[in-house]
């Protein structure tokens, strides 16, 4: 191999080393820990095979099942809502000819505001308006609402970029064929946004399954456990209970599998076919 052909590999080596060390090595360790009885402080452990996974899936006090259902509920609420709202905002912003940058900035602001601050503000705000956080039924929808508000600016920008890439000719041709605005939206815009939609949905599903900060700040899993989610369950088991780091890692791997399954399903459903790459 010549020095010329080695050069590109040397360029990517530092980044690859960091990714391997903090990504794959850490994942490997957590996979191993999930097969042991492990305590973060004592460090002692014993190989238990798949016992932690069995306990998560079928144990008498399995926090995993409750947390999974709550997390799934959050995903169902937050993912479609964020997708729809961010697409609508992008469509509106796309039509605006003046001060488009100002609109983009305004909608993007919640995304760059730290979630801790946003959560504290919403916590007080929701207390004034009916206090859904105090209701077993409404706490999760309220948290999902915050998630939508916070995330839609970011995804709006992605949709906006994708909308700008759609050639005007397509709309002109559709118009000549007699398509109205709704038909143009359904048969031109939506199909040509499939690449962006696939990306947005993958990111939304991953983010929604990992929801943690707003719940930790606003409800800490309450009321009555109605907002206990997977990431919080992993955190609580790892740090609050003796010798449960292995169990927490097993839950984290199950969470990873859930996300992977949903992402694969979603990728198959929104396979773009590389329409106009």
């Amino acid at each position: 191999m010549t020095s010329r052909s080695l050069k590109p590999y040397l360029y990517v080596l530092p980044a690859l080393a960091v990714i391997c060390l903090f990504g794959f090595v850490a994942m490997g360790i957590s996979l191993w820990v999930s097969l042991t009885k492990y305590d973060l402080v004592a460090g002692s452990h014993g190989y238990v095979g798949l016992a932690n996974y069995r306990e998560a899936l079928s144990g008498a006090d399995s926090f995993f099942r409750v947390a999974f259902l709550n997390t799934f509920y959050y995903v169902v609420l937050a993912v479609p809502a964020t997708w729809i709202v961010s697409l609508l905002l992008a469509l509106m912003a796309h039509k605006v000819k003046r001060a488009q940058a100002a609109f983009k900035t305004i909608y993007f602001l919640p995304t760059i505001t730290p979630m801790v601050i946003v959560s504290l503000v919403w916590f007080q705000l929701l207390g004034v308006y009916g206090n859904p956080l105090g209701s077993v039924r409404w706490a999760m929808p309220a948290i999902a609402l915050l998630g939508v508000w916070q995330a839609c600016g970011y995804f709006m920008v992605i949709f906006l970029a994708a909308l700008s890439d759609i050639p005007q000719d397509f709309y002109d041709a559709a118009s000549i064929d007699g398509a109205n605005a709704w038909q143009q939206f359904c048969h031109v815009t939506i199909p040509l946004l499939r690449n962006a939609t696939a990306f947005v949905l993958v990111m939304l599903i991953i983010g929604a399954f990992q929801v943690f900060t707003q719940i930790y700040i606003m409800t800490n899993g309450g009321p009555a456990g109605s907002t206990d989610v997977l990431a919080a369950a992993v955190f609580k088991e790892a740090f609050e209970a003796t010798g449960r780091a292995g169990y927490a890692c097993a839950m984290a791997w199950l969470m990873f599998l859930c996300v992977a399954v949903f992402v694969v399903i979603q990728m198959r459903l929104t396979r773009s076919g590389r329409i106009y790459d």
Binding site: K37, D39, L40, V41, A42, G43, S44, H45, G46, A60, D61, F123, Q124, G127, N131, L133, G134, V136, M218, T219, N220, G221, G222, P223, A224, G225, D228, K236, F239, E240, A241, T242, G243, R244
Partner: protein, 474 residues
């Protein structure tokens, strides 16, 4: 370029420069100079006085908020970078010791008469040792207590004597008189501050112990709050809710804030709360503290008392220097500093004989009852308490939000069963793993006993499987 980067990294990662011969101690605390100006003054004077006496020891304080403290401790120990000395909550102390990362202090205590266990109030030295092995030196003695607005009591002609509320029925009667409603029935002022959200477990404990119950029974290894005493305590809290003498429950409800605003007449917090109420109300609210009246099954006024402590990690490189620091902070001089700056009582007996304490009580009358409250408090076992309270919260929260008196036994039994399994799991961890240190517990099979039994070492002795080897014995 590469060399320069490496050199920069080496410089950046190098440990701080220490004077030749000086020992550097890393000290962790959740109290912080940034909490209030009083804490800043306390830490400034503490560091100054200690440095004057020990110029050869350099203190490096690291302040970590209480809510992040257990996670930070865990990662510190997991990464083998724990603090040398740290303030430890009673919630985590015993389990840290059980995990073999804390230095036993008996040898140091034996040669330090000022820190002998008989220098402390009995209530202060029941959570810092196990089977005679001392793992922490108490520096603060805390108890849950009932805090009441003296001005409101006087306005309504209610007796302000701390012992005037002598039963739960009298308490309820006081609550009714103190509750103020408008014409529509909306509560303008609640007799008592109770909230179902987040704090529900903490709200329950003092009532449980005032009724003669206990959260955990070391003799059986079971969660014991589903006893008749516990069920009665939970039902009493539901009665307070149903009689509408408490504010509407809300996640945003800040009970201390409402107390200061005059919208709540009584609430339960801790003996440490006085300084915050005084500061946040700018001295406008006249209040007093007392222990809880006995419940129907109670044996006199009571509450829950505990002592937080200073601990030394096993990894401490300068144990002698660390002990000097502990001696100073947990000794009478450290106690006097906390009294002076924080108005804090002490686990030490000798503080209460000092003129400084009497002067402070004259200045802050709410402190007068603090020794009695602390001494009257029951010992609450803190074994695996974080996990237990996390599990207990949702059960009790649901009960307070929508439960009825008839629901109480079933909910309490379900919660107790769940938490008993948590205790069993934690005990099994210590049984099934070889944790270093004197507490290692091993499973053995004897010829005499066909069933597996637990044997603690040393000395080797048989104990029933249901009996917790790591229970809360003092």
């Amino acid at each position: 370029m590469l060399l320069a980067t490496v050199a920069l990294l080496v410089v950046a990662l190098a440990p701080g420069r220490t004077e030749p011969g000086a020992a550097e101690l890393v000290v962790w605390d959740w109290w912080s100079p940034s909490t209030t100006e009083s804490y800043k003054a306390y830490f400034d004077e503490l560091a100054q006085q200690f440095q004057d006496r020990h110029p050869d020891i350099r203190l490096r304080f690291q302040f970590i908020p209480f809510s992040n403290y257990p996670q930070k401790l865990t990662t510190g120990f997991a990464g083998n970078r724990p603090p040398d000395v740290f303030q430890c909550s009673v919630s985590w102390a015993e389990t840290l010791f059980d995990r073999g990362v804390i230095r036993e202090l008996n040898d140091l205590v034996d040669r330090t008469p000022a820190l002998a266990m008989d220098q402390f109030l009995p209530a202060a030295v029941r959570h810092n040792q196990k089977d005679g092995r001392i793992f922490g030196i108490p520096i603060i003695l805390d108890a849950n207590c009932l805090i009441y607005n003296v001005d409101l009591f006087e306005q309504l002609g209610l007796p302000t004597d701390p012992h005037a509320i002598d039963s739960w029925e009298t308490f309820l009667e006081f609550c009714r008189k103190l509750t103020l409603r408008d014409a529509s029935g909306r509560i303008l002022r609640a007799g008592f501050g109770l909230n179902s959200y987040r704090l529900s477990a903490i709200m329950f404990h003092p009532w449980l112990y005032a009724n003669g119950g206990t959260f955990y029974d070391p003799a059986t290894g079971r969660a014991a709050f589903d006893s008749p005493e516990g069920i009665e305590a939970a039902r009493f809290l539901l009665r307070l809710r149903d009689q509408k003498v408490v504010p509407p429950f809300s996640p945003q409800l800040d009970i201390q804030e409402q107390f200061i605003a005059g919208k709540i007449a009584m609430f339960i917090e801790g003996t440490w709360s006085g300084k915050y109420i005084e500061r946040n109300s700018e001295g406008r609210v006249r209040f007093a503290m007392t222990n809880l009246p006995p419940g129907p099954h109670g044996r006199g006024r009571s509450t829950v008392t505990w002592a937080n402590m200073l601990m030394m990690s096993k990894a401490c490189k300068h144990p002698e220097a660390a002990w000097e620091f502990i001696k100073f902070v947990a000794g009478i001089d450290g106690s006097l500093l906390r009294l002076k700056h924080l108005g804090q009582n002490s686990p030490r007996k000798d503080l209460y004989e000092r003129p400084e304490w009497k002067e402070m009580v004259a200045r802050k009358p709410y402190l007068a009852m603090v020794p009695e409250i602390c001494v009257s408090g029951a010992k609450r076992p803190w074994f695996e308490s974080s996990a237990a309270e996390t599990a207990f919260g949702p059960y009790f929260e649901r009960l307070l939000i929508s439960g009825t008196a008839d629901d109480v036994p079933a909910v309490m039994h379900a919660a107790a069963d769940h938490i008993t399994r948590i205790f069993e799991r934690a005990r099994a961890f210590f049984v099934g793993t070889a944790v270093s240190g004197p507490l290692s517990v091993v499973r053995c099979q004897t010829a005499a006993a066909s069933a597996a039994c637990l044997v603690t070492s040393p000395p080797c002795r048989l104990v029933s499987r249901r009996r917790p080897s790591d229970g809360d014995r003092t």
